[in-house]
Subunit: 166 residues, 2 copies
Amino acid sequence: MQDLPELTKCALRRIAKSVVIVATRWEAKRYAMAATAVVGLSLDPPSLLLCVNKTASLTTPLSGGARFAVNLLGRDHLALPISCSAPYQGEERFERGCWGEWGEVPILEDAQAIFVCAPELLTPYGTHNVIIGRVDAVRLCGELDPLIYVDQGYYGTAILESNFAE
Amino acid sequence: MQDLPELTKCALRRIAKSVVIVATRWEAKRYAMAATAVVGLSLDPPSLLLCVNKTASLTTPLSGGARFAVNLLGRDHLALPISCSAPYQGEERFERGCWGEWGEVPILEDAQAIFVCAPELLTPYGTHNVIIGRVDAVRLCGELDPLIYVDQGYYGTAILESNFAE
């Protein structure tokens, strides 16, 4: 029988998630990190929420108030989550992808959506920080074609035969 | 040109999400609500996070400390998000689906994963509350086949030809 943390890990992996690259600049250095723990929070004010491991390189910039971009990946960006994760570090993480800037904030020019945010509230909990980002600027790009991560694998979407959505 | 809240709404819709039914019991009544703003938070302690509109019927129970279940839906559950949303209310929301109980907490017996949680920290922000749930119990069921909601439509997953996942 598995213990509760191990079983929780297996169950959390079953939650399907979009993949994003969170990017920022801090003391003249660029930082980027692949992430999946991102959700929309409110439209009043426009805001989103992300959960970041306290050991991540972005923790210091975000704790320090650095504005950041959440770059939402499409299926064409399949190589980016790997290049924006360990063992790659610092500028190595920007070697792939069509990177530009919004003000000083690194953005992925062809992301499905870009949210430029200011960190507004940081709540530590266990191994992670919960960061609420207030959205300053948004850009959309291309046809919808999300890259999805679930149970340690990457997927695209498949249309369902019967779809109750409006 | 769209204003920032409208543009943020369009961009947030592009984030692909699993669909869950959050369910609880409070003062002898059952409550259920379809939701997509759920993410894993930490394994130490085992925890997840959800964002709930302050106007939702579950706000009172969760603010009051009611234990709740996050029931993760699969493709076969396509009808449930509709039946667990307005205009349906109260017990009407339990008319579809294979509902059981874990202690007093309503659970969907054939959910892809069930997380039974105690609300541990509630942070109001804008129109929503951010609720951290400490996971007490977990159950997994069936082959992985997630129901995905993105841009106001429901989807399944499609395997990618080249997959960098381990």
